[in-house]
Symmetry: C2
Subunit: 98 residues, 2 copies
DNA sequence: CAATAATATTCAAATATTGTAATATTACAA
DNA sequence: TTGTAATATTACAATATTTGAATATTATTG
């Protein structure tokens, strides 16, 4: 109904985007996010790929998840993550960080 | 001469991008960066606009500067900042925060 | 050379993030 | 059930970030 966003809504939107950028602002998380850009991937493979402790990877996945950048999908015992925010996906593709 | 980037260079490039995203991943800094997107602006105006202590703003400007996102330009006593990284500028314009 | 205005830097306290070992949960098979 | 593989959560030490007052620097004017 409202044509314009209220100042409060704008601040919230900005805070949300800042949270997402912050989540991507860590080498490991940026690498994970870029890796998930093309194909979804299960946690175990990410752990193997990056060679970091499982708990460390899981925490970073949690950060990206809470920022609304990725989303988990259970496939039996495994959990598959994929990028869910389209705006962020475009952004990552543009950055072209391998 | 090298057709491909080495793994080390890629890691460096990723780390650099992560640093930039991290710099933008703070509400005040994101607001500053978005504000500078269209028009350059001097520090005093930014301070007045955001209503935060001068030292706080100056520190945030320093963070954005070190990340290579903005660049200062002395004009007499004043310092004018503007967005300098084109990739980041496009990214910010896309995010359409505000 | 003052004096002043604009900006940057330093410092310390409060708070947040990071990394990882240990532990818990979850889903499935036997 | 019990066992096991995959993932998440917890706990906590180490480290980093954030803030704002105080102070320093820089450029300009008189």
């Amino acid at each position: 109904m409202t044509a314009r966003r209220t100042a409060g809504q704008q601040a919230q939107q900005l805070a949300r985007r800042a949270e997402q950028l912050k989540a991507l602002g860590h080498p490991v998380r940026l690498r994970i996010a870029c890796g998930l850009l093309r194909h979804r991937c299960q946690v175990g493979r990410i752990v193997a790929q990056l060679g970091l402790p499982q708990s460390t990877i899981s925490q970073h996945l949690g950060t990206l998840r809470e920022a609304g950048i990725i989303v988990p999908e259970r496939r039996g015992v495994c959990v598959c993550y994929r990028v869910t925010d389209r705006e962020i996906a475009r952004l990552l593709a543009r950055l072209a960080v391998e």
